[in-house]
Symmetry: C2
Subunit: 425 residues, 2 copies
């Protein structure tokens, strides 16, 4: 039996979940993996705060050195969240020869090079399955199972809060702000939901996933981010009528040395596997040159699903004698030059309010045509109000720059652009 | 750079796919994993046979010893299929100190203990991701990512041929035999499709998956197997009308020390994630006590998807310094006693032809009630023919034994049972 002594940095919901999971799983750990895992110290802000998990008082400390300098502790598990001080604590732990397991997407996305360099320099492991999509084994799948693939693209529903909101708007025709308030009340959205609804949470995760998928460091700063705050019930209803479902998608595509990474509301055909992923479920759909299409779906958040990934990593780290780290193609010594593309192509859903006069449609079509944007479908929705009528267009594939240029040329005297939403197939 | 020399046992479609994948992937292997992988010898039946892949003639041999006794070869990759001689060759390779990577579900399902014992005894690895569901990383997910879970159940669509047939029957109302002939013509069913349509292919895979999920050796012989050969267009149409989709499901459930494993046609509600998995896609839906619900979906067959899994294993085996093997709870030295349950509970779809007379329904309901099988829904379908009318029942949860007893008691003078299909939620 191998005795593994670990320390926690932080003990909020996920930390509590990990404590609970480990507590009830010792028999299985012994039998399956010949392991005994013991939590020795737990860093908290306030030792007197009431906690949902039964961590004994004497394990708690407010001094990080009690965790990262304890010679008996071999694995430090970080649940603090946020970039700092989590990153510095993890680097100190790695330098002290301890393997780090983290659920912290922000720290990994922003400081991956520093964390990995510290791990490699000191011959220890850095594990972060829980940082992306909770229990879904997307990190391990990209790092190991799909290692023999050139991943061409991945698209994910990787934020449960926004998927819950959009699913309800789709099913019940409700307004964004009403559903958001309800989600807050139900604990499905944070009191300050900005990071979720503005797309940043998804962008951190996309930076991590796409780096592993493309074996290229994809910085968070290169991710185009657009949230769901401007999405309207009207857009969702129009899309629904045309057979589309609106999702906040995280999209990463690689074509040769070009990489595009973006998070934005996206219409998907109702028959797409991601279109069926509802409520607080997460899913990642990807295509590799050998594996072809694949989708992983599951619980992307929650104490126990996230604890499932954390404890999986702890077991993995305890059993592994060699810690394997990914190689990126755009580190200084790499053999590939990668560029990040902000002029991607897409199809587009455009909703406008146009003056109800003959010849207007020809004008609008002309503005699109001037930029080589070609129309696939047009639908008039509802009736004339204040002399204007809502028109919906879905375009064929066009470049983002051309689309933006076309919309900028629209004459507000003739029509105004109410929304522009990208469409994937 | 680590040079890895490997040998093939067999070189059919999957072997050819692996050759092709390795050939075009050397640059990535070098960069990502610091590996160079070279195929040195390839065992074939006939060195003169024309091949789709460009294996040089001088690598081919008809003598297995050229592969398993070559001291330079460290990994033997087996693509022969079937129990023998594949199993004996793999055991000889393991005993010769070579790690084995296999795509052979039959050999693994039937001789796992012997293979694993040989691998452990000689300190080498045994990898079999490709033996179940092609590119889908279900083995690695069960073995590693979900290690911190008690898996409660898994349900899979793990045979592409039958899923293609059932999907077409569902969508177009076609008859089983017509679709089967068409599938043969299209290369989607074997000339002799027995192993697929009778459920054995799925049962081998279920034996492997459930063994890993439950950390208990689930022998192939314990799997209840019923294929799709008796499925009718009429049953599928009736189910469809009631909101159900018919799939050949592989189901494994664990409740305490009881395990049930079964492969049979199953109705699923149209809203179930597995109900949306169509054509030749495979998917596994599972639930763990920590991870909750999860689904992995992808290409379960085909040269390149299977090669994706094989080469993933070769890379994994080349990089790993320690080869980890699963522990089963029902080996002689284990701490758990497991029983295999053949009296599971389910809901049931029953279609009968009943004499069109007053009082018949009361009689049928009485036969169900006598065995404590309670009816959830009843539907009359179509009109009276030759004095008999088709009736469909869907029951509440009932035990398999009770259901069988109820059906056995039906009086053929009053009604005949045309079909009985299990229903999952």
């Amino acid at each position: 039996m191998k005795d593994v002594v670990i320390g926690f940095l932080g003990c909020g919901n996920v930390g509590g979940g990990v404590w609970k999971l480990l507590e009830g799983f010792q028999k299985e750990l012994a039998h399956r993996d010949n392991l005994s895992i013991r939590v020795k110290r737990v860093l908290v802000r306030d030792v007197n705060k009431a906690r949902t998990c039964a961590v004994p008082r004497e394990l708690l400390t407010t001094d990080v050195n009690d965790v990262i300098n304890d010679p008996e502790i071999s694995i430090v598990v970080e649940f603090m969240g946020g970039e700092q001080p989590a990153t510095e604590y993890m680097i100190r732990a790695l330098r002290a020869g301890k393997t780090v397991v983290t659920a912290n997407k922000v720290a990994v996305a922003l400081n991956w090079h520093r964390l990995q360099a510290a791990a490699q320099e000191h011959g220890v492991g850095l594990y972060y399955e829980a940082s992306v999509c909770g229990a879904i084994p997307i990190i391990d799948t990209l790092n190991h199972s799909l290692q023999a693939n050139r991943i061409q693209y991945l698209m994910g529903i990787i934020n449960g809060t926004t998927n819950y909101i959009l699913s309800r708007m789709y099913e019940k025709g409700e307004d964004y702000s009403a559903v958001l308030e309800d989600a807050k009340r139900l604990g499905l959205a944070e009191p300050n939901p900005a990071s979720d609804v503005e797309g940043y949470d998804a962008a951190y995760k996309l930076s991590i996933m796409s780096s592993l998928a493309f074996h290229a460091r994809v910085p968070f700063s290169k991710v185009y981010v657009e949230g769901i705050t401007r999405v309207t019930a009207m857009d969702i209803a129009c899309g629904k009528e045309m057979g589309y479902v609106l999702k906040l998608l995280a999209i990463a595509k690689r074509d040769g040395d070009n990489i595009e990474v973006r998070v934005h509301p996206t219409f998907l055909p109702g028959s797409h596997p991601l279109a069926q992923v509802n409520g607080s479920f997460n899913a990642v759909y990807l295509k590799g040159h050998a594996c072809q299409e694949m989708m992983l779906q599951g619980r992307g958040a929650g104490d126990m699903p996230t604890a499932s990934a954390v404890v999986g990593d702890i077991i993995h780290a305890s059993v592994a004698d060699v810690h394997v780290h990914p190689t990126f193609a755009n580190t200084p010594d790499a053999d590939a030059i990668l560029t990040f593309e902000d002029n991607w192509t897409s199809r587009y859903f455009v909703r406008i309010s146009a003056v109800d006069k003959p010849g207007v449609l020809a004008k609008v079509a002309g503005w699109f045509a001037k930029e080589n944007v070609s129309i696939a479908t047009m639908m008039q929705k509802g009736s004339v109000e204040e002399g204007r009528v809502p028109l919906i267009f879905i375009t064929h594939e066009a470049s983002e720059k051309a689309m933006q240029a076309a919309l900028a040329a629209f004459d507000p005297q003739i029509c105004t652009v109410d929304s522009m939403i990208r469409v994937e197939k």
